[in-house]
C-alpha cells in the first residue's frame, strides 16, 4: 500500500486505506490513502470510468466509504448526523461537471443558493463574485440560457460563495473550449492563492500541464482502482 502524504499539516481531507463498492458489489476504489493539506492544489486524473467522480463524492460525503475511512476536517461522515454532514458541506464547495443548477432560478439565485439555505443575507458579495467570474451581465439569465463556459463559471461562483476551505471540481472544463478552460483554471488558481484547498478531477492532461507553471500542484492518478502519484510522468 503506497501512502501519499501531501504535507505534514493537519489534513482537511484524509483517506485511510479507503475502499468503495456500490451496494457490496465489485470494488470501484481500493486501498486509497491520502492526506490533503490545507492550501494545497491537486489534480486527480485517470481515464474515464476510473472512479474520479466517485472519489470526489467520498470527499464531500455524498457517498460513504465501504472500507477503510474518510475523514473531512477530522470527522468521519459515517458517524456524523445529517445536520453535521450538511454543516461540513458548507466548508466544501463543489463544482459538478453538469453544474447541478436549479433551472427555475436565475443565475444570481443559483449562485446565492448556499447563502439562502443558511439563512444568510445575500449582499454585495454576490455582485462581486459574479463580476469576478465575469457574469455580472448574465445574473438574471436562467441556467438553460447560458453557454457551457458561463455555466461552469457560475458553478464555481456558487461553490465559493460561502468561502469554503476546500473546492472540489469534477471535470470543470469537460464541456468547454480551451480558452474558457484557461479562464476557469485561472479562477481556480486564484482561489488557491487565496488559501483555498483545491482538487480538480480531470482527464485533460493539457489542462494540468497549463496549470503547472502557475501553481504548485500535486497530481494524483487513479489506476487499477488505486491512487497513485503521477507528478513525474506529467
Amino acid at each position: 500500500m503506497r501512502r501519499i502524504r501531501v504535507k505534514d499539516e493537519q489534513a482537511v481531507i484524509e483517506l485511510r486505506d479507503t475502499s468503495y463498492s456500490y451496494r457490496g458489489g465489485e470494488l470501484l476504489l481500493q486501498g486509497m490513502t491520502l492526506q490533503v493539506a490545507p492550501g494545497s492544489f491537486h489534480f486527480l486524473t485517470g481515464p474515464s470510468g476510473a472512479g474520479k467522480s466517485t472519489l470526489l463524492k467520498l470527499m464531500y460525503a455524498e457517498l460513504q466509504a465501504t472500507g477503510g475511512a474518510v475523514t473531512l476536517f477530522g470527522q468521519d461522515p459515517r458517524v456524523m448526523d445529517r445536520n453535521a454532514v450538511a454543516d461540513v458541506r458548507t466548508r466544501i464547495g463543489v463544482v459538478h461537471q453538469d453544474c447541478q443548477f436549479l433551472d427555475h432560478l436565475s443565475i444570481a439565485d443559483n449562485v446565492a443558493l448556499p447563502l439562502m439555505v443558511q439563512g444568510k443575507p445575500v449582499g454585495s458579495d454576490l455582485h462581486d463574485l459574479l463580476a469576478w467570474v465575469g457574469l455580472s451581465d448574465r445574473m438574471h439569465a436562467f441556467p438553460p440560457e447560458l453557454s457551457g463556459g458561463e455555466r461552469q463559471r457560475a458553478a464555481l461562483a456558487r461553490a465559493v460563495i460561502l468561502s469554503p476551505d476546500v473546492i472540489l471540481a469534477d471535470e470543470p472544463t469537460g464541456n468547454i473550449d480551451w480558452d474558457m478552460s484557461q479562464r476557469v483554471l485561472q479562477l481556480l488558481v486564484e482561489l488557491n492563492k487565496m488559501g483555498k484547498t483545491v482538487m480538480v478531477a480531470t482527464h485533460d492532461i493539457a489542462l494540468i500541464r497549463a496549470a503547472k507553471p502557475q501553481v504548485s500542484t500535486r497530481i494524483l492518478r487513479i489506476s487499477n482502482k488505486r491512487l497513485q502519484s503521477a507528478g513525474a510522468e506529467l
Binding site: R82, H104, V117, G119
Partner: protein, 298 residues
Amino acid sequence: MIADTLRLMIAPNKASDTVVPPTGFTARLTVFAAGAMAFLAVFALALSVSTGRLADRWEAELNSSVTIRISAPADQVEAQTLAVLKVLDQTAGVASARALEPDEQRALLAPWFGPDVPLEELPLPRLVDVVQGPQGLDAAGLRLRLAAEAPGAVLDDHSRWRAPLVDAARALRMLGWIALGLIGITTAAMITLAANAALAANAQVIRVLRLVGARDTFIAGAFVRRFTLRGLIGAAAGTAAGILAVILLPNGAEGGFLTGLGFEGFGWLSPVLIPPLGAIVAFAATRAAALRTLSGLR
C-alpha cells in the same frame, strides 16, 4: 429542539419557498382532497352529534317513562283504571300518572288508521302514562300490585322496543366517530401521496440543496409549509360548504332522525375544529413523507 423544528417548518421562509418550484397539479389535488374530506367530516360529525343526542334523549325517556295498558271487559275498564291510578298514587318513585283521553289515543293511532277512526267501536286498551321520579320505581313490585288490584293492567316500561333503538343510535354515533377517523386517515394518505409526488418531482432540487449544505428542516419546511397551507385552505372551504349544506337540510318534526341531523347551540362551533385538524394532518403527513425521502439521501 421540537419547537425550533416546528418554527422552521411552519414560519414563512422566503428562501425555502423560492428554491422549491411550485407544483400546480399536486397543489390543486391537495386543496381538493382536503376540501372534500372536510365536507364529509362535517356530515360525519353532524351524524355523531345528532345520533348521540338522540341516544341520550331516548335513554332518558326510557328511564323516566312507563305505560300501563289496561285490557278488560268494557264495564270494568273504568274501575280498573281508577284502581291503577290509586296504586300509582301510592307507589314510590312515580312523579305523575294520568290516563290518556280518547282524543289523545286517537291521535296516537292516527298515523296508522287515519284521524277518523271510531275508537269507541274498537276493543282498545286504556293507556295510563306514568312519569318516573329521579329515583325510579320498582317495576317488579308494581307489576305484582297491579296484578292484585287490576288484573287487566300490564306494565310496559318500553325497554323491549326502545332499548334496541338506543343501541342503534349509539352504534350510529360510534360509526360517525369511526367515519371521522377514517376521513382523517384518508386525508393523511391522500396528502402523503401528493407530497410524495411533489418530492419525487423535485428530487433533483432536493439533491442540489443537500449538496450545498441545506439541512433537512430547511428542505422539508418548504414542502411542509405548502401542504399545510393547502390542507388548511381546502379544509376551511370544505367545512364552510359542509356547514352550509347541514343548514340547508330540511328540518322536520322535532325528534325526527334524518331531519334532526345537525348541530345545536355551541355544537355549531365544533366543525370549526376541522380546518386546523386538517392542517395538522397535512403537516404531519408531509413532514413524515419529506423526512422519509430525505433519509434516503446523504
